[in-house]
Assembly symmetry: C2
Homo-oligomer: 160 residues x 2
């Protein structure tokens, strides 16, 4: 059960500017590699999503984005999010209808998301073995897997 990043560190005060910088660099690289365009809007939405490790909703993002672009509309945000999700820079948390930035977007990975119901911080852990065992279960009923969502709600160390 290899960890993607040091999640314990994320729960502590840390140099979050570094998280941001690295994510933006990843974004550049990923888009370059895929021939995708990291436009100003998309970059800005990514920055906003990644501005903390808390899950953030589309309309919260809209409010923030509007501080700079007063005429932005919901679809502006959803389009950017769709793009960022497609290229793997953002994950949607289905059980919250909210979004988090991915800290390991450059690597192919399968994640379990741990969501603190108190502070809303979301920690993404690598879950290849878990994924494997769910896929195996599927096989037994001839189910062809496409995408897996694993979300654990609870309380983080700080909030317990």
């Amino acid at each position: 059960m290899k960890k993607l990043v040091d999640e314990k560190a994320l729960q502590q005060p840390h140099d979050h500017q570094l998280c941001m910088t690295q994510t933006l660099l990843s974004a550049e690289k990923i888009c370059m590699d895929q021939g995708a365009r990291l436009t100003a809007i998309r970059r800005r939405i990514l920055e906003l999503v990644c501005s903390s490790h808390k899950a953030i909703g589309a309309y919260e993002l809209l409010d923030l984005f509007r501080e700079e672009d007063t005429k932005a509309k919901p679809v502006t945000i959803y389009r950017a999010l769709d793009f960022l999700i497609d290229v793997g820079l953002v994950h949607k948390i289905e059980s919250l209808n909210a979004f988090i930035g991915c800290l390991q977007a450059e690597k192919k990975h399968q994640s379990v998301i741990l969501i603190c119901d108190d502070c809303k911080n979301a920690y993404e852990l690598d879950a290849a073995p878990v994924y494997q065992s769910v896929f195996e279960m599927g096989k037994k009923i001839q189910f062809t897997p496409r995408s897996l969502t694993i979300e654990l709600h609870g309380l983080c160390a700080s909030c317990a």
Copy 2:
């Protein structure tokens, strides 16, 4: 990886009336045991949710329910669903904003839901070992688990 029910059978034509009958009996028993009231509305919503193995949305339920009670409102449905979810007779599929009936509500169980993106049939498998391994992951970062969602999208045997 014990199976809750014979999911292969669910994918085949089967005596679905039996599914319904058993679910309703479970509902009676569960409510009796918990001192909860299975009112006419709740029972009817449960029947509608369980009328197939396909995930169904709240507003689809509302449309169906309105065929008998023309003045029903969304909140009527959501209240009934909240109740049915609380007592374990219905599960919400977070990634679809839709609902399915539970075929094993009397047993305490932890489930993985396999959702066919084509026919929308949803199969609930028992997943205690998977749950255990996710909980273990959480422990490593002192995360106190509360509830776990595991949803696998793909294609069922019939639709692949």
